[in-house]
């Protein structure tokens, strides 16, 4: 079995550039909807034992309180999620009291399942930390990849391996962010701190995938330096193909279990990871390795 991956490089590039463009468009025109972790505010989750009011009824009830309500959303079979500007404890108590007074009739009871209120200074801190974590993870990974490939210098410099791994990685991150921009725009999905966790985990896994393929290329470079570079990369890709597929599957299977069985709290987290992991496997085969060959071609052309 020998699939000519490298031969169709341009096709993969086209596909990836297209998806990246779409993702970029989504990101810049809609942006990712940030949750209260990053914007500050309050999120109240209520469950109703018997009759859940309609969104309209709830909206009217909350209007009487003159609150700055952002989102009123049904969730599950008997729950409501209400997102507002930052509530201090007194207003929060007033809100719960009002809802109880309005809907606790005929044996109906209202339970406050969870509450999160995040002040602006905390959300600012979370934003800063998220950004610095992403920057530092990237720097650390580039350094490590450069270190791991330090012995390879022919025909491609080790730092180029590192850079290309990062290109593949950027593609994966872009895709995940694009999907969440889309979800945010059309379904009101908001991202919280756990989304950053998912992104950073995807970073790690995506680069691992790329490294495994590169490792094989490196090994083949040492053993069969005679054959043409493109052919050799293609051989390496085919040799590691089953591993890439199987590893991705063994990661995606538990993630799928988490997505379907893990409950609503963990839903978006699992989804971000699912997309990122799948994309990570794709990019290491269809982007990172063909790019190596392309770069090598450029180098030769320059030398001529």
């Amino acid at each position: 079995m020998n699939i000519p991956f490298i031969k169709y490089s341009k096709v993969w590039y086209a596909v990836s550039i297209l998806t990246s463009m779409v993702a970029l468009y989504a990101l810049f025109s809609w942006g990712i909807k940030l949750g209260i972790d990053f914007t500050g505010g309050s999120l109240v989750e209520l469950s109703f034992a018997k009759n859940r009011p309609t969104v309209e009824q709830m909206d009217n009830t909350l209007k009487e309180l003159k609150l700055d309500v952002n989102v009123i959303q049904k969730s599950g079979d008997d729950e409501f999620i209400i997102r507002t500007k930052f509530l201090d404890e007194d207003i929060h108590q007033a809100l719960i009291k009002k809802i109880r007074a309005s809907y606790e009739k005929d044996g109906n009871t209202v339970t406050e399942k969870s509450l999160q209120t995040i002040g602006s200074s905390v959300s600012q801190q979370l934003r800063q930390r998220a950004v610095s974590a992403i920057i530092w993870v990237n720097i650390a990974i580039i350094l490590y990849v450069a270190y791991a490939f330090r012995k390879v210098s022919r025909p491609i410099a080790s730092w180029k391996f590192g850079t290309l791994a990062i290109v593949a990685l950027a593609h994966d991150i872009l895709l995940v962010m694009g999907v969440f921009a889309f979800l945010g725009h059309f379904f009101g999905v908001e991202v919280e701190t756990d989304f950053v966790l998912a992104l950073l985990t995807v970073l790690g896994f995506s680069v691992t995938d790329t490294i495994v393929v590169y490792d094989r290329i490196r090994e083949n470079l040492i053993h069969h330096s005679a054959s043409e570079f493109g052919t050799m990369v293609n051989v390496a890709l085919n040799e590691t193909l089953m591993r890439s597929i199987n590893t991705t599957l063994t990661v995606l299977l538990p993630l799928a279990a988490l997505f379907f069985l893990g409950g609503s709290t963990i839903h978006n987290f699992a989804l971000a990871l699912l997309i990122g992991m799948a994309s990570g496997a794709y990019s290491s085969i269809f982007i990172a390795s063909p790019l190596l060959v392309t770069v090598e071609k450029w180098q030769r052309r320059e030398r001529k």
Partner: protein
Amino acid sequence: MAQKKQVSRVAMSKTSVRTKLIGVVFLAIFCLLVVAPSYANGGIDWLNKKANLGFPRLPDKGFNLGLDLQGGAHLIYQAKIDKIPVGDVVSAVEGVRDVIERRVRGGLGVSEPLVQTTRVGNDYRIIVELPGVTDVNQAIKMIGETPILEFKEQNNEPPRDLTPEEKKTMDTYNAAEQVKANDALKAVRAGMNFGMAVAKYSEDTTSTKTNGGDLGFITSDTFPDLYNWAKTAKVGVVSAIQKSTTTLVIAKKTAERDGEKEVSAAHLLLCYKGADRCDSSVTYTKEQALTKINEIKNEITVANFIEMVKRFSTEPGSFSTGGDLGTFKKGNMVAAFETAVWDAKIGTIVGPVETQFGYHLIYKKGETIPKEYSVARIAFYLKQKTDIVPPTESWVASGLSGKQLQHAEVASDQRTGQVQVSLQFNEEGTKLFSDITTRNVGKQVAIFLDGEPISIPRVNEPITSGSAVISGNFSFTEAKLLSQRLNSGALPVPVELLSQQKVDATLGADSLQKSFKAGLAGLLLVMLFMIIYYRLPGVLSVFSLLIYTVLTLTIFKIVGVTLTLSGIAGFILSIGMAVDANVLVFERLKEELRAHKPLRSATEEAFLRAWPSIRDGHVTTLISSVVLLWFGTGFVQGFAVVLGTGTAVSLFTAVTITRTIMRAVFGRFKDEANVLFLGYTKNSK
């Protein structure tokens, strides 16, 4: 020669494989015992019961669950430190932390709160985690108060007398009540329906007013005055005005009935060693006590009962009481005793009766059935002195409070070396303190914190310097704590609630259950996949995956890693990671077998060749984990710890454990392998 060497090496490696395999088995057993000790404890209990060996039980501690899984509240406060001198900020914030911890422990009864201070830039924050707390509102109220320090002096004022004016008002009021009562009585006597009269006149505010003044059946305990009156009155009779210090009452007896039977009895008790509340001087064994009491039974009569009790009863105090128990109702005595007394005929002695206190002989003296009376009333409330003059307090505020305290610190008495807390007041405080001490020489003053007296020193002489010491029997830690508290009272650091997160316990339990299910399903799916795709090696990887799972959980439990929802997600994710290393090795093995290498050397080769990829892949994930640990806050760190631990453990299990199992099992197969191995092709040479 060379051949001999080869053989001996194989033999040696076989034994070393066996040793390692035993090690793996022991590791697995150990981890299982740590993760699920309840099964093992069940076995130990059974053994102990059967053989009475007294093996100790294993520690049965659960996992540390985060607030999102067990329910509770997470609060972040900001300390407003702008008014505090820079040098005192840290101790002031620490003081607030201690106060909050004391308040949530004492005030809310949270047994394991986590109260921490953190510094973000120039801000000091206090993080409060309250597992299991449902009433967050109350918690917030309790925590939000600034500590209040007050100096109080003894209240020398005797309870004052009523002023003539007050006395006049009171008398006028009571006279008016009396008039009302007279009117009401007149009306009832004139034939007014009692219920109507209650509705019209009674000043009862409870339901008594609306149900015709009915108090229900009363006993001598609940309304002694009315009960005494009702004893002699006939049903339907209305009383005259009954006056007590607080009320004027017109009563009507509406019914009477038999109450619960009461029995009067005396007893003689013989207790024995080991019986409940048995005096230590008693030397009877249980058998001896039984023999003795039977002897006594033969001699005892109603006439000599008291004398016999005085001679033999082991009950403390029985010499003076003669064993008399007075009258009692059902439910007052232990069951065996009660049954015996209730069944006995009046004037007889029964027994011996065995209870946990020993053996009893019981003399039933009599039984009575007290009456209960149903009474309705019209009540008028009178005023008394205590309603007008407030009760006196033993301490009164002196005007000196934490506002005027400049500083408190731990000091020691130069002569005795005793630990003290020294106080320094500001200008206003110095003046006040000097006045107070002048007023109170030889008396005590009290220092109150949050309304509780924490120290009550005696004033020996007037203090005009504005500094004072509180001496008491302090240990150094107590003194430090006190000064910290005083400083936090003296330098009030108001706190502001920045953020709160609350998770209902049921939601937490639900999340836990769901993520557990998801983890289990994920694990099973991965195992199934490995077995179907890689055949025999897949089966072996399942074993190492299981060991991976229990080993990681063991580390979580021993180290005390707090498991949060995202942490469990990280763990589920690391299962995939753990398998990745096996996939890499098996793919290599497949290639080596396709190249017709002998099974054993193919295995070793596969591990060797897969190692760089395994290493690099794990390292990148470890890098992410470490950076997250460095930059993250609480729950991000939870995820990072779990992912990082999982990755490190999987490096160990995937390489060492899988290799050991593979070596041990593959040793039983021929070198040319067979269809159980992926990559096997019939050798057609």
